[in-house]
Structures are given as C-alpha cells and as structure tokens.
Amino acid sequence: MKLVTATLLLLAVAIILFRGVKGPTIYDRILAVNSAGTCAVILVCQFGFFSEPGFFLDTALVYALINFIATIAILKFIEHRSLA
C-alpha cells in the first residue's frame, strides 16, 4: 500500500507541475504550486509515518504553514506590487 500510494502521489505532483510549467496565466502557476505543496505535505506525512513517526510530522506541519504564507505573499505582491 505504501508503494502504491506514494507512486500515485508522485505522479499527481508531476501532473500538477506540468500545469504549473504550462499554465497560461500566473494564477494557474500559483494554483499548481499550492496544490503541489499540499501533495508534498501528504507525502511527507506518509513517509514520516512509515519510517520514523513523530519527527517528520512536525516538518509537514511547518511546510503546510509555509505553503499558505508563501501563496498569500505572492498573491499580495502580484496584486499590489509590494508586500507592505
């Protein structure tokens, strides 16, 4: 089950990043990066759960928060041309 889910999730990240490279507008790229970040959080959770529980889960939590803050910051910069 580990192998099946990890392979499918990695394939999903690859497909999402294809849209991120191709996306016609900048919002498509931001959406793709955000979804790939969510998939990365799930992957880190699974890897940490099956290898060394407890340690990787903190990494996943921090990555989820960083993903959110980065998305909001990029959107704010695009909209207002500044982060102030």
Binding site: Y27, D28, L31, A64
Partner: protein, 154 residues
C-alpha cells in the same frame, strides 16, 4: 508499525474482549480504505488541474485535493497509528490544511477577478445576465466581457 503498545486498540480490546494485537491489526486493515480512496481523489484532482479548460474551472479539482483528499489520507494514517500523539499531530496537520487551503484558493480567485481574468464562457452561457458591470455582479461582468469579445473579433 509493530503494535507493541496499542493505545487505540487497548480501550477497544477492553470493551469487546478481543486481543489487543488483533484489534490493532484490524485497525490497520480498516485504514487501507480511506488512504486508497484519498490517493485516488488526489490523483483525479491532479488530472483535473492539468486538463480543465480555464483557471476558474481548475480551482475546483485543486480544492478537492486540499479538502477531501488530504483529510481522507491523513485520517487513514491516524487510524492506523499506534500512538495517540501521532494521531493528534496528523489531525492538527489536517485541520491546518483544511483551514488554510480554501483561504489561499479564495485569495487566488479574488486576485484573479480583481486583475480582470474572466471565466471561459460559450456564447449563450451568459444569456439573461444583467447589464451592470461591477464587482457586485459577477455574472453581468462576465456577460459584458463576453459581449466585448464578440464585438471585437470573429
């Protein structure tokens, strides 16, 4: 996952009289279904993100990954875990993603609308929409944009 100290299975074992290790194995088998369904949903959402026609349509599969897929996968892992702290951490991660992901999606759509990106419409989709083009009336804004496109080109 060796069920050496099965903390979820211990209360169930006390309640039902089954062996604690048997309960832990049963919980691991139960957790297979949500993890597989969640993985399928994430994969389908990825296909949708790659294949849907415009940005506002692509938001939907992305939100499916962020809301449904991760909840199912992390809930399955939490059911299978033999440590309640790990299950609590997984629930916390799931909750954080469940709150932040729709927020960022909403911010994205709002920024795209403010910048002037309009939904992809077929001629006739916006029929019956009102005349006023402003932020309070998105359907009319789409209709006005589509009319301008039709007037401008072939």
């Amino acid at each position: 996952m060796t069920p050496s100290a099965p903390s979820f299975s211990a209360p169930i074992a006390d309640l039902t009289g089954f062996d604690a290790h048997a309960v832990a194995t049963a919980l691991e088998w139960i957790s297979v279904a949500p993890v597989l369904v969640g993985t399928l949903i994430v994969f389908t959402g990825a296909l949708g993100v790659a294949r849907f026609p415009d940005f506002y349509a692509r938001v939907h599969p992305a939100g499916m990954i962020d809301a449904l897929g991760q909840v199912l996968i992390l809930a399955g892992l939490g059911i299978a875990s033999d440590d309640p702290w790990i299950a609590l951490k997984l629930a916390l991660i799931s909750l954080v993603l469940f709150i932040t992901a729709p927020t960022s999606t909403h911010a994205m759509v709002r920024a795209a609308w403010r910048e002037g990106l309009r939904p992809w419409l077929q001629p006739g989709d916006a029929e019956g929409a009102l005349e006023e083009d402003n932020d309070e009336n998105p359907a009319a804004a789409s209709a006005a944009w589509l009319r301008a496109e039709e007037d401008a080109g072939p």
